[in-house]
Point group: C3
Amino acid sequence: MGLSLEFDAAHRLPNYDGKCARVHGHTYEVEVVLEGPVDDGSGFLMDFYDLKQILKSVLEELDHRDLNEILANPTAERIAEHIKAGLEDRLIATPAVLVSVKLWEGKNKWVMVE
Amino acid sequence: MGLSLEFDAAHRLPNYDGKCARVHGHTYEVEVVLEGPVDDGSGFLMDFYDLKQILKSVLEELDHRDLNEILANPTAERIAEHIKAGLEDRLIATPAVLVSVKLWEGKNKWVMVE
Amino acid sequence: MGLSLEFDAAHRLPNYDGKCARVHGHTYEVEVVLEGPVDDGSGFLMDFYDLKQILKSVLEELDHRDLNEILANPTAERIAEHIKAGLEDRLIATPAVLVSVKLWEGKNKWVMVE
């Protein structure tokens, strides 16, 4: 199953030789993919509502923030790894396994960590 | 190859403790993914038009219906499994193999059965 | 990582028995997926900007063209294979490995070559 949410944040890439070294920002979209058994009683792996609350709680730290205050070099790859770590902590108590975190930086480019 | 279509249907989740137990509905999007050999003559695996007709014939049963008249507990997972079974019957006569059925319930959440 | 771009082109399918045998056209969308190690210094696999330039250079040949002047039978599958070959040539000098090329012919149907 998958669920996506957006957040808006500023960042700059300190090691970058070009305009990404300047402060700018993006509307990021995050898609979380989980897998696991479908429960016979509920008929689903996990309630979409619960997954949304988990993802929102992870993104709370990043939304409308300066990502350079959280990560030294906030490339899409590093942000996605950071989100993945936060999700794994919160998914331990569930039967679902985290398969991947996909992060779009704008509309037509993305990274994925598995 | 993949092809997607939408359908609109009502459902409620009888085992759910919350507002999904009430009758509501969604615009569902279904994406079918097939794989197989590309035919030397036609230059494709299957005509997109033929795949669209097959998927439409499966969704005919579900579009503008109350899904609880078809499935006891019509969660996204159960609906996707139902669509997959209908597709497999209709794809037997083709060289294509069904890889997955992905079902979006609204815009930003989905399930996939393989 | 992935990046997508659009191009607009005319084509007809000479072996097709139906309206696709007539000259028509599509807004195609191409998504390129790469994988490889994240560089410790830059913090990314490849600069999105560089990948965009590479993909643009491949699509330059196809955009606003008659695809039948380039390919004998320009089905989505054959176009995707052609794009993949062009990308592989240009990615040899990078640490990234091409995973797949996905080509949408219009909005809701696509092929993928791996």
